[in-house]
């Protein structure tokens, strides 16, 4: 038997295994399915996608050429442009794209059951997210590592470029607010969690001084020391929580926590980057990668049963975690695990300046996103292994299920997901929390799921509380790092923008400018954060869809730019590769935007909820003490509607600009001019 025949049989076997595993998770009813089927199905699909689809894109669509020198080789300067080993670039790229989104999104979308979310993560990842990352990375490599905004300006139009810049700034604000809300909900009334996270600030500052003055740039040894200290903080957190003296100081409500995070965000943005942000980022990155690996191993060793049904009754749009039907809201809720516009900013940032050979863009762009998507599948498993009643009790806001334990469990049991107040109380005690009711945002249920998987492995059942708080620490640590890094990047973007109007504001070393722009960015996301914290529906219901819509908007911009470039390259017959995910994204973002603004159900439509509250005010049914708060809520709902409308408008602008160009190129009324860097033969080996 020839090698070719053996390869064909191998890939046929992978395809059959994928089909069998998918059939198991899709069609088995009435009994729990083992999570390993989900992992195997996803792994086989990724293998097939990488082997066949990414190869097709690399060879036929993009025609990657290793004879052509990359920017890293042509512009090598030893600092920004450096030809780098492909595994190192892969590590950089994956560490940059792996954020909290693929962990939290699937947890929230599990309210529809595990099936819709999992299928979207795998299919959306392979046909959408991976393609977007791969093609935008390729486009940037061919253009000296230019950013998405620059490419939109040069390849689409000036208007397209400005749309991209504005979209990125708006998205930063919403993203930071939403992820901050996830941390607030994870740490409120949790002295163990809050004391651990508080200890990380002095640990990071110690590492900052160590790396700056004592062992300059020795990141690995500093991270090992830091990890030990963080582990000590996690273990020590238990004693703080059990101490009658100290527990009081670390038990905070949502609003106090939000203000603490806002103040810390401002300080980190203006403090020297080496002191807190950078060392905490090193720590967060290593812990994040290690924990993801641990979760994968844990799932394989524990091979838990998935107790959540494949589909729940909430596909009809009546879900307690967020309102809206499975279409479009499942696809909006899971953005980062399937397709994330934010990745296009990374793929057109540092990564294209490090790649040695064009062919490596396949592994780094397509492969990196594939692993990220796999992380999303693991998060879905972590949600699905929980008892459905427990999952809904943790994630449902008090405004929907009721504020008391008895009322909440009665409501959730009434939906057909039995749970008792005693079960929840026992679980909270086992994981070292005061309560697990109404802990919206996804992070606490992810931590419970991860603790369940970890403690079910290697006979470590007695360490459930420790695993839970390790998972909370891991989530909060890298969310706070992203928050601080995002605030700082947003401040630089705003300074650049305002510098056009008044030059001193553009100077990044001018302290009044630094303070003013930092305050503007922090105030913008802080406003939305506070809004989410005081929202009686838990905040996630209104803010997470905004986050999903904004992220998919950015993906729309990236795919518009990519499609324009493909058409200009004379690859019109393959333009469907980027146009198909683009069409899907436009369908889901426009439908979701329309529903979030205009839907008559007050739980779904911002304006309907505002009108509902206004009517209650007019009828005098709101208690006098709550009138001012309700008026504020009405204003916030109208603001959310306006923000959604702005996002939808930006999508339409970039679409109109791109569509006009595609039409003009097709009918020959405009000559396509490709702004690629000139071809130069490569002199280095892979």
């Amino acid at each position: 038997m020839g090698v070719m025949a053996a390869k064909r049989i191998f890939w046929l076997a992978i395809a059959l295994l994928a089909a069998l595993s998918l059939a198991m998770i899709a069609f088995v009813r009435g009994e729990p399915v083992n999570a390993v089927w989900l992992v195997v199905a996803a792994a086989c699909c990724y293998a097939l996608g990488y082997r066949f689809y990414s190869r097709f894109i690399a060879l036929r669509v993009l025609e990657l050429n290793d004879e052509r020198a990359t920017p890293a080789e042509r512009l090598e300067d030893g600092r920004d442009f450096v030809p780098t080993n492909k595994w190192v670039v892969f590590g950089h790229h994956f560490a940059a794209i792996a954020g909290p989104g693929p962990l939290v999104g699937p947890i929230l979308a599990a309210q529809f059951g595990y099936l819709p979310g999992t299928l979207w993560i795998v299919a959306g990842g392979l046909v959408g997210g991976c393609v977007q990352d791969f093609v935008t990375l390729f486009c940037s490599i061919r253009r000296n590592g230019k950013s998405l905004g620059q490419m939109a300006k040069e390849e689409v139009s000036e208007v397209g470029g400005w749309t991209a810049v504005l979209a990125v700034l708006f998205i930063m604000v919403i993203v930071i607010a939403v992820i901050a809300l996830v941390v607030v909900n994870a740490l409120k009334s949790s002295p163990w969690g809050l004391s651990t996270i508080s200890m990380i600030i002095p640990i990071a500052m110690f590492l900052g001084v160590y790396l700056r003055y004592f062992r300059v740039g020795r990141v690995r040894e500093a991270s090992v020391i830091g990890f030990m200290l963080v582990l000590g903080a996690v273990i020590g957190g238990r004693y703080v929580a059990e101490s009658p003296t100290f527990a009081h100081y670390f038990t905070c409500g949502g609003l106090s926590l939000a203000w603490i995070i806002i103040i810390c965000g401002f300080l980190t943005s203006v403090l020297p980057v080496w002191l807190l942000l950078a060392p905490r980022d090193y720590l967060a990155t290593f812990i994040k990668l290690g924990t993801i690996l641990l979760l994968a191993v844990g799932i394989l060793l524990a091979h838990p049963q998935m107790l959540l049904p494949p589909l729940t009754r909430f596909t009809d749009g009546t879900g307690p975690i967020f309102a809206g039907k499975v279409f479009p809201f499942c696809f909006i809720t899971i953005a980062c695990g399937a397709i994330s516009g934010f990745h296009s900013l990374i793929a057109t940032g540092t990564t294209p300046k490090l790649i040695r050979k064009e062919s490596q863009a396949r592994m780094i762009g397509y492969g990196g996103m594939m692993i990220e998507s796999f992380v999303g599948v693991m998060a879905m498993v972590a949600a699905a292994v929980l008892q459905p009643g427990v999952y809904f009790a943790i994630n449902s806001p008090a405004g929907v299920v009721g504020a008391t334990a008895d009322k909440a469990t009665a409501t959730i049991s009434g939906w057909g997901f039995p749970v008792t107040a005693q079960t929840m109380s026992d679980l909270a005690t086992r994981v070292g929390e005061i309560t697990l009711f109404n802990r919206t945002g996804g992070a606490p249920s992810l931590a419970v799921g991860m603790a369940h998987i970890f403690s079910g492995t290697l006979g470590m059942g007695r360490l459930e509380a420790l695993w839970y708080h390790f998972a909370i620490m891991f989530e909060a640590l890298f969310i706070l790092t992203l928050l601080d890094a995002g605030t700082r990047a947003g401040r630089f973007m705003l300074q650049e923008l305002l510098g056009h109007f008044w030059k001193p504001l553009g100077r990044t070393q001018w302290y009044p400018g630094v303070f003013i722009t930092s305050a503007i960015i922090v105030a913008a996301w802080g406003y939305f954060l506070i809004q989410g914290v005081v929202d009686p529906l838990g905040g996630i219901n209104s803010l997470w869809p905004l986050f999903g819509i904004s992220n998919q908007l950015l993906a729309t911009i990236a795919l518009c730019v990519a499609t324009t470039i493909l058409i200009k390259m004379g690859k019109k017959r393959y333009a469907w590769v980027t146009m198909a995910p683009l069409a899907w994204l436009v369908a889901i973002t426009m439908t979701a935007s329309y529903q979030k603004i205009w839907h008559p159900d007050p739980r779904l439509g911002f304006l309907a909820q505002a009108s509902d509250l206004s009517a209650q005010l007019a009828a005098g049914t709101i208690p006098a003490a709550k009138v001012a708060e309700t008026q504020h809520l009405i204003f916030n709902l109208r603001l959310d509607a306006a923000v959604t409308a702005i996002f939808a408008f930006l999508v339409l602008v970039i679409l109109a600009e791109s569509g006009r160009n595609w039409w003009l190129y097709t009918v020959g009324r405009k000559v396509p001019v490709l702004r690629e860097a000139p071809m130069k033969l490569s002199r280095i080996s892979a």
Partner: protein, 60 residues
Amino acid sequence: MTFLAKLTCFCWRLLKEVAGENDYARYCRRAGADGAKLMTAEKFYVLQLRQKYSRINRCC
């Protein structure tokens, strides 16, 4: 050397590169070849960090 030991060595070296611990040596080689005045390791470290965190370098 066993496979596991080789893999561990590879991962440790990979981490060193990803963490940027070779960046200063690389810069010295490059700047030295161009005859430019070299920055100190400390100044180089702070400058690299400032550049890295002045743009979007982490995803949601």
